[in-house]
Symmetry: C2
Subunit: 351 residues, 2 copies
């Protein structure tokens, strides 16, 4: 555990996925999606246990979710919860928290992570994080974790690595050749067939100096807005001034604002069973399945003649499903969804 | 409204059908199965409005359901609720209440009906009841309503009428040639093809004199048990004595004890859209269906690409079903069932 290691958890997503399990009032990061007993946000913090002192953990979320974060992470210091007055994607979030961290600890090294992703192999995850952190601390480089593709997925962005150009300091870290947005199936198959393409995990590792400088260079306007608040950080004025400044920010992802423009971006290829859990189908892929391909979350779920289904009914005392193949069944707080997994992209139209 | 007309509602069934909607704690007769706003028991009483004074309405049920009856029929006089200490089928129920009615009104004419059947056409129902009541009052005959078969149903018993032998008093009432238990499909088709076979509705019409005499002749032992309590009826001792006597009764239906042995049984053919609602499928048949053959009970049920389903989710705020054909979906108090209608006979094995 290094005293200069900081963790930024981005927990502002409104994710409409997993309806009716999730909702705008209770997005995915605040839910125990996998039935493990911890919410996605809690699991995200759990993964960094023994890597980051709790005083160095920062959570950025929408103001409306403040109470949810306080309930779910009671150990988080009050001053480390940063509240966005409105959603502006990830760049303002990272810019704001980076300036805050810089004021607190000018020698900080930061891991910035989404709050709603799934990781299967914790040991491999920690090895990759430690590796990337050490590299970022030593070189002032920006690093992202690239996931080994296990299928020609069209739902993820890709990172092309220059495998001939391993870092001299870390054999396991390569220079990034380019970032690629979510491809069509044809391209996804092409990337999947090659070993130099990785899924973009959205997990970034960098020193506070590096990321602050990157904002200064690549998004000077946004950088000035948050640098201008230097003297009000950690004062009673801070939230009011943030509430003024935030709406002025462009709504832009850190990928667009910084990552794709930076010259020196590196990727740490990793294979720790990762998913952004972007769909019921991807959740089914991650959950433990019975011999008929079904995954269930709930106290008393009974399946008959049923295959390849995900039944997520944690609030139901008893569930009986007979004769379904390839469906999601979800009940939450008086709302019930039954839908073919092949049709799940239509769920957003249903509610 | 005739002051000597009495109504006996048999409400002691534990009906395990319609799980999880119904349960032993809350059987079908106490539920609003069709979503009409009234329970089956309440609807049964409603059908006799203006035909029977409320003081002449009798409900026989298991002691454990007493409070449910009082809640659902608050207008029922306290002394007209008869409580069985244990289930003994319909013969002891009819014998007990008949002796009670005889003591109250020796000139009574009685309609005895199940509490959990469905009737579509109320006007036709009332015409049939009035017809049969007048006939029973005039002739001391026993009458049952025979339902015009609308399909070769194997789930009902049949009545064979001697159509050449219409009553001289009522052209619409025929002598019964025989009672037939639930047939196999081959026989059901045969009966359906002929116009002299009717479904046995389980609704009986007779004078109190006739039914009491029938018990004396055909089940003297049971008759003596209840005749022996003549002096305790309507006294504080009644329930305690009934609790002693009831377990001594043979568990037997009135059909076996009386009906099949009686010489002079008559049938009033009727066609008022009747069902015993013995299955989810039969409920689907009775409910109003959309153009895709679906019936729903619930405040906000949304169906997509869905056909021939019954969705009974009165307690759910919102339901979305996509891509089902021929299923029952039912949620009640934290229990959810999804099952193919063709497999519904297995539901009893699921819970």
């Amino acid at each position: 555990m290094n005293e200069h290691t900081h963790l930024v958890i981005m927990a502002g997503g409104k994710g409409a996925r997993f309806w009716p399990l999730s909702s705008e009032e209770l997005p995915k990061q605040f839910l125990d999606v996998t039935g493990c007993g911890r919410t996605m946000l809690q699991s995200t913090l759990d993964r960094f246990k023994d890597l980051v002192p709790i005083g160095n953990v920062w959570v950025v979320t929408l103001a409306q979710y403040a109470e949810l974060v306080r309930e779910q992470l009671p150990e988080l210091p009050a001053g480390n919860l940063l509240l966005e007055p409105c959603g502006r994607n990830t760049a303002p979030c990272i810019c704001y928290v980076s300036w805050k961290i810089k004021k607190r600890d000018a020698r900080a090294n930061i891991v910035a992570t989404p709050s709603d992703h799934y990781v299967e192999n914790l040991a491999a995850f920690r090895t990759a994080i430690v590796d990337a952190l050490e590299f970022a601390a030593e070189t002032d480089a920006m690093v992202t974790l690239g996931m080994k593709a296990t299928r020609p997925e069209t739902g993820y962005g890709y990172i092309k690595a220059d495998l001939s150009y391993a870092s001299s300091r870390r054999k396991s870290i390569y220079r990034v050749d380019g970032f690629i947005e979510k491809p069509d199936l044809e391209h996804a198959k092409e990337y999947y067939a090659q070993n130099s393409y990785f899924w973009n995990s959205g997990i970034f590792i960098w020193s506070v100096t590096t990321v602050v400088n990157a904002f200064r260079v690549y998004d000077a306007q946004m950088s000035r807005l948050f640098e201008g608040l230097w003297n009000v950080y950690d004062t009673p004025e801070e939230q009011a001034r943030i509430n003024e400044v935030y709406p002025q920010c462009e709504s832009i992802s850190v990928d667009y604002a910084i990552m794709e423009k930076a010259e020196d971006f590196f990727v740490r290829p990793s294979d720790f069973g990762w998913s952004d859990l972007g769909s019921w189908h991807s959740l089914l892929e991650q959950l433990q399945k019975d011999e008929r391909g079904n995954a269930t979350v709930g106290p008393d779920v009974n399946l008959y003649d049923t295959h390849n289904c995900i039944v997520h009914t944690a609030g139901e005392k008893k569930v009986v499903v007979q004769g379904l193949d390839g469906y999601v069944v979800c009940e939450k707080d008086g709302t019930l969804l039954i839908c073919k997994l092949t049709e799940e992209q239509r769920i957003k139209l249903f509610h």
